[in-house]
């Protein structure tokens, strides 16, 4: 097994009100087989042993589906590798002696709780404004009970892959949440169960998104490039279309 010695430039911040700073740490003898989060674990063990405050970061499943690991690596959320979360990034992707910049996802709508831990409950409030279906669900229906065209089912499934990690917001120079909102709206709007409340959903979610202080999309598609689930910006075009239609219907109703 080969080992790496790295220099880490890490954002340290006491709490949401204090101002943060970049601190430098040496990450010594990191196995190339370690994941990025395991690398921070190793550094933290040493920090704890030395009586220092460990680097706080969010993590949960460590298998790429929870969306908790909210950090940018060298300025890119979940690193420059495509289609992965930070926990799926391995240290073999780095070179010995490299300097790595680690910062929290930056957006005013995502206040920093501590170090690399950010508060992404703005996303929960957007979901609560329309990202659901208001029917009694009961038990799971038979898969073929409601016929759905294959193309719609596929599009809904692609959108539903969103894990709500917030990388799209962190990558966007405007901190726009359009990819997240469009994926969540598109997921339900493509399906007959969700289409009934399409207009209310789109209007509600977009208004909540604006109220949370996210920026405006300028069509640079950085979001789809960093999305760990590779969700397409096509959903943003659909959201724009659906929002225009919903606004027109709202104005004429």
């Amino acid at each position: 097994m080969s080992f790496l010695n790295l220099t880490l430039k890490v954002w340290r911040q006491e709490n949401s009100t204090s101002s943060g700073r970049i601190e430098t740490y040496e990450a010594k003898e990191i196995p190339t087989s370690a994941s990025f989060l395991e690398m921070i674990d190793i550094v933290n063990e040493r920090l704890i042993k030395d009586g220092e405050e460990p680097i706080h970061f969010d993590h949960d499943c460590r298998e790429g589906i929870c969306g908790m690991c909210s950090m940018t690596i060298n300025g890119i959320p979940h690193s420059k590798e495509r289609g992965i979360t930070t926990c799926q990034l391995h240290m073999r992707k780095f070179k010995d002696g490299e300097t790595i910049w680690i910062e929290p996802f930056r957006a005013n709508a995502f206040p920093i709780i501590k170090d690399l831990v950010t508060d992404r409950t703005a996303f929960d409030r957007i979901i609560a404004s329309g990202g659901y279906i208001s029917v009694r669900t009961g038990s799971a229906p038979d898969a073929h009970a409601i016929p759905i065209p294959k193309a719609d089912a596929d599009a809904a499934f692609d959108a539903a892959a969103c894990i709500g990690c917030g990388a799209c917001v962190a990558a966007c120079k405007n901190a726009s949440a359009m990819l997240f909102v469009s994926a969540k709206a598109s997921h339900l709007n493509h399906l007959p169960q969700g289409a009934v409340e399409k207009d209310q959903r789109v209007l509600g979610m977009v208004r909540q998104m604006d109220a949370e202080g996210f920026g405006n999309c300028t069509n640079q598609y950085e979001c789809e490039a960093v999305c760990p689930k590779e969700i397409s910006a096509d959903h943003i075009a659909k959201l724009n279309r659906d929002y225009l239609a919903a606004s027109a219907r709202e104005a004429t109703s």
């Binding site: 990558a171 726009s176 409340e197 640079q220 490039a225 606004s247």
Partner: protein, 239 residues
Amino acid sequence: MSAPKNPLCSFVSSSIGRKLIVAITGLAFVLFLAGHLTGNLLIFAGEDAFNEYAYFLHHFLHGAGVWVARLGLLVCLVLHVWFTILLTKENKSARPKYAHQATVQAPKSSRIMIWSGLTILAFIIYHILHFTARVGNDYNGDRYQTTLKTGEDAHNAWLMVIDGFSWWPAALFYVIAMTLLCSHLSHGLASIFQTLGLRTKKTAPLINLTAKAYTLVIFLGFISIPIAIYLFGFGCSCK
């Protein structure tokens, strides 16, 4: 999911609504550019053709046509500039800066839209003062009076353009402004389709290609005039 009181108000104050206004007014300018360029290129068809065209523009609908167009363009300009400045200010304040900045795929042109846009705005003001209001020059003088083949007295717009671009700072600023216009269009034109919700994975390559091709035609078309006049001396023997 509560319904607001005034749907129009909430639409104009929403991020998507304001983007739509920018896209529609941008589209108006994209179409205007094609018309403007077609007219401009008549300069190569000769003095008479260009002056007749200028005469037609100023007398279309008994002279009202040009003012309708100017008013329409002014409204589009005000809306486009106002909302882009508003959106840009919001966008800048929505995200604190990273200590280590990086970009994956956003092209340079998309990142300088506000600056290319403001340069174009400055150019539009200069351009109107130069050739429309004719401030600080003698383009309304006797030298620029001519008679059309049809017998009407008219302004010699053709000679004005030749003289205008024979002065190097004007020709240079014109080319610089057109370069930034090209940058602005290359992102803006394709963006219109996304904002209107017409872009998909299938249509994206066609939209991008069309946007690039259109931008190139606009760029080459417009710069051909100052370059032909200043560098190749087009029209100077007719003085």
